[in-house]
């Protein structure tokens, strides 16, 4: 047992770090360091740079561009990318749809969609959640009625991240309303967002950002060949996808980037006549977060090491620990960032000021300090709430 990185792993980390340093456009990096979410175009730009390097879809089969990295290499890449900070790979394309297509897709589906997904030629979004369903995903109601070579889709999805950016959506729809169990009447469809009958309505989040949407389907015609896997077996596909979704959920690189940003600012703002970073309470808080990050770092390595040994394809229930503890850290570190900003974190500096020209109104670091905190309250909700994760742990490990 040796928990240190091997020389090969250190070399890999250095290779990744060097590549990011040399190829990530500095303006993207700086905006992200200050807490801004990357724009659509920034995400596309960076993913295409990575794709050119062959690093955009490492987890896919080699024939579709996969890189045959070890799990630890993938972890190192993900965290270096988050900590840079650089835009993360479009998860809908890379961790969700890609593996599903590679596993369940027809040769035609694979050949057409996979390269386009890797290069972000198509921006994908996910149509799973519905207004009435919430954590009870399988109770979804959006109906797909077979008519010849088409499904006619009617219904509504909600919480659809980046639907307003998306070219395509992969959606769960109900193809058999009379199935014995609600999980058994569901199919998995790929739908072109330009198809007539689709309406996207924005949902503005509490940080003021437009990230989420409602998507309405009104007699939307979807060719049957855009179904993945068998009719009424979409739940199997979804389960496979959700298992993959849980890798990388700790997002430790992001928490580290938050902590670094807070410490940077704390060196430069005063509290009680001295730099904030010398304040005992601030230091205690940083120290505790460093401990918590270190612990999760090691736990994550253990989960990854275990994953690389097993091959049953089932998600490790311990990844629920990564989800809960990882999101707690995202929330705690973004809260530290906001608190570091103090009163300067509260204004929406951008609003109504653009009209006044480019004269800076506040220090650069203050631009976007509360928004990540606000947005990351969702981290313990999406992808299965942290309460659901505890249910999973109970069911799979504790068995009470």
């Amino acid at each position: 047992m040796d928990l240190r990185f091997t020389p090969e792993e250190i070399a890999w980390r250095d290779e990744v770090r060097t590549f990011i340093n040399e190829n990530l456009p500095p303006e993207i990096r700086e905006r992200m360091r200050l807490g801004y979410a990357p724009t659509k175009q920034e995400t596309i730009t960076w993913q295409r740079i990575l794709n050119k390097k062959g690093w955009a879809c490492p987890g896919w089969p080699a024939e579709f561009g996969g890189a045959a990295w070890t799990p630890i290499q993938r972890m190192i890449f993900t965290e270096e990318n988050q900590a840079a900070p650089a835009p993360e790979l479009n998860g809908f394309n890379i961790t969700m749809l890609g593996p599903v297509l590679a596993h369940f897709g027809t040769p035609e589906q694979k050949a057409y969609f996979l390269p386009r997904a890797a290069n972000l030629d198509d921006w994908w979004c996910q149509g799973f959640s519905e207004p009435g369903a919430g954590s009870d995903l399988a109770s979804l109601k959006t109906a797909a009625k077979r008519e010849g070579d088409f499904y006619i889709v009617n219904g509504q999805k909600i919480w659809t991240s980046t639907a307003h950016h998306a070219d395509w959506i992969f959606a769960l729809v109900r193809t058999d309303p009379n199935a014995r169990k609600k999980q058994e009447g569901i199919s998995f469809l790929l739908i072109d967002m330009k198809t007539p009958g689709i309406t996207v309505r924005p949902i503005i989040s509490i940080d003021g950002s437009h990230h989420l949407n409602e998507v309405f389907f009104d007699d939307v015609k979807v060719p049957v060949h855009q179904r993945i896997y068998e009719e009424n077996r979409g739940w199997d596909v979804a389960k496979y996808l959700l298992g993959n979704e849980r890798t990388g959920i700790a997002r430790l690189g992001k928490s580290r980037a938050n902590l670094n940003f807070a410490m940077d600012v704390a060196r430069n703002v005063r509290a009680g006549g001295a730099p904030l970073i010398e304040d005992p309470g601030f230091r205690q808080r940083v120290a505790q977060l460093q401990v918590d990050i270190k612990a999760l770092e090691l736990t994550q390595m253990r989960v990854i090491a275990a994953a690389s040994k097993k091959s049953d394809g089932k998600p490790d229930p311990f990844s629920s620990i990564l989800k809960v503890k990882g999101t707690e850290l995202l929330q705690a570190t973004s809260e530290l960032v906001m608190d570091t900003g103090g009163p300067m974190a509260m204004p929406i500096w951008a609003s109504e000021l653009n009209a006044l020209g480019n004269e800076p109104i506040a220090p650069e670091w203050a631009g976007y300090m509360a928004a990540p905190y606000l947005m990351l309250r969702a981290a313990s909700i999406y992808g299965g709430t942290n309460e659901i994760q505890r249910n999973i742990l109970n069911k799979a490990v504790l068995r009470l």
Partner: protein, 378 residues
């Protein structure tokens, strides 16, 4: 010890509550927020008519002669309705400065205008590099003839953009962080040399960056003694903390109600999610936190007029920490128990959430006051 409200106080609470229930719905508030100044002039007049704008002022100036507890009762109702109007800025902050430091002439000239609703004010004290240190004043005022010339900049001035008059602090002597040598001035919002850039805060209320470039004011603009403003500023902030704490308590009360209603009605896996014991216990924790916060808000109100300065400062600091922590706990869990809907701008919970967040970052946050209390442990 006595927790009873007087009949007047009950009447006050009821009438404010009724007004807001009728006129300050969440929908109506959206409209108010879109007004040019970010709030409703009409509601402001209503507050004036009800006498709220004169609540803490002497009857000699047309006021109601009320105290911090009366302000607490009103602010708690304001907190439930997420009131946007500049009550804190005008009546509590600037009003307290005037009450404590104003000359008879200043009070006679200004307070009746406030009471009547004609005059909005703001308290322009904080600066971009001061964080929460009340003595970190770098703006300056130098004598010029009979009057003064002000230079500098003030930051995150609540309702600074719409204020007719500003109470501005400036250094007339001493070094940065000296408590001595700070003076308060009354400055017209549209005086020559005053620049104001207004924006929204994260909770939807308004504030402004205020610049002062060779702003000339007369000798009669000095509020209180020259160089003696620090204790006044300190008490203005204490009054602000007390008022805002009550507002957050009102907000927490509402958040718990809304959350309970959601837990009762939202169905998942074939039952109301409120049937989950884990969510029941979380709601119980929210209730406990709310009640502890309410206690601390009462403490703050009671302490605002405490003459023993050390006792007052210490208790207000404790109240700030207690309400701040309660507000954070209740609001974070209100969002969490709602799930996705709690994260949206169109739903009410996120607004209360951000208001509680704003409280924690106003006048010094939890860490700041806990640090102050810690430094006193001996």
């Amino acid at each position: 010890m006595d927790f009873d409200l007087t009949d007047d106080q009950k009447l006050l609470t009821d009438s404010v509550s009724k007004l807001l229930a009728d006129r300050y719905t969440f929908e109506a508030r959206k409209g108010f927020q879109k007004q040019p100044e970010g709030w409703s002039a009409d509601m402001w007049n209503q507050f004036a008519e009800m006498g709220l704008l004169g609540l803490p002022f002497d009857e000699a100036y047309g006021g109601f002669g009320g105290g911090a507890v009366d302000v607490m009762l009103v602010m708690e109702q304001f907190g439930k309705a997420l009131v946007l109007e500049p009550y804190l800025a005008t009546v509590v902050l600037a009003g307290t400065a005037l009450r404590l430091a104003g000359s008879e002439a200043q009070k006679s000239a200004i307070l009746p205008e406030i009471v009547g609703g004609a005059l909005k004010m703001a308290f322009a004290h904080g600066e971009q590099s001061a964080r929460y240190d009340l003595s970190d004043v770098q703006s300056t005022a130098r004598r010029s003839g009979d009057g003064w010339v002000l230079e500098g900049a003030k930051s995150v001035v609540l309702h600074g953009g719409s204020a007719d008059k500003l109470v501005v602090s400036a250094r007339t002597a001493g070094e940065r962080n000296d408590r001595d040598g700070i003076t308060l001035f009354l400055v017209d919002g549209d005086a020559k040399g005053v620049g104001r850039r207004s924006y929204q805060l994260r909770d939807g209320t308004r504030a402004a960056e205020v610049t002062l470039s060779a702003v000339q004011v007369g000798a009669d603009a000095v509020l209180g003694g020259v160089g003696d403003a620090y204790p006044v500023i300190s008490r203005v902030v204490e009054a602000g903390i007390s008022a805002l704490a009550a507002e957050v308590v009102g907000g927490m009360d509402k958040m718990l109600d809304v959350t309970l209603e959601y837990l009762r009605t939202r169905q998942q896996f074939g039952k109301a999610i409120g049937e989950n014991q884990v969510l029941q216990h979380k709601a119980a924790d929210m209730l406990m936190s709310l009640e502890q916060g309410r206690s601390m808000s009462m403490l703050a109100a009671m302490m605002v007029d405490e003459p023993d300065a050390a006792e007052r400062e210490r208790n207000i600091a404790m109240a700030k920490v207690g309400v701040g922590q309660a507000g954070k706990f209740v609001s974070q869990n209100a969002v969490q128990l709602h799930g996705g809907i709690g994260m949206t701008e169109e739903y009410v919970i996120g607004h209360y959430f951000r208001r509680a967040m704003m409280f924690d970052h106003s006048f010094g946050d939890t860490a700041y006051y806990l640090g102050k209390l810690a430094a006193q442990v001996q």
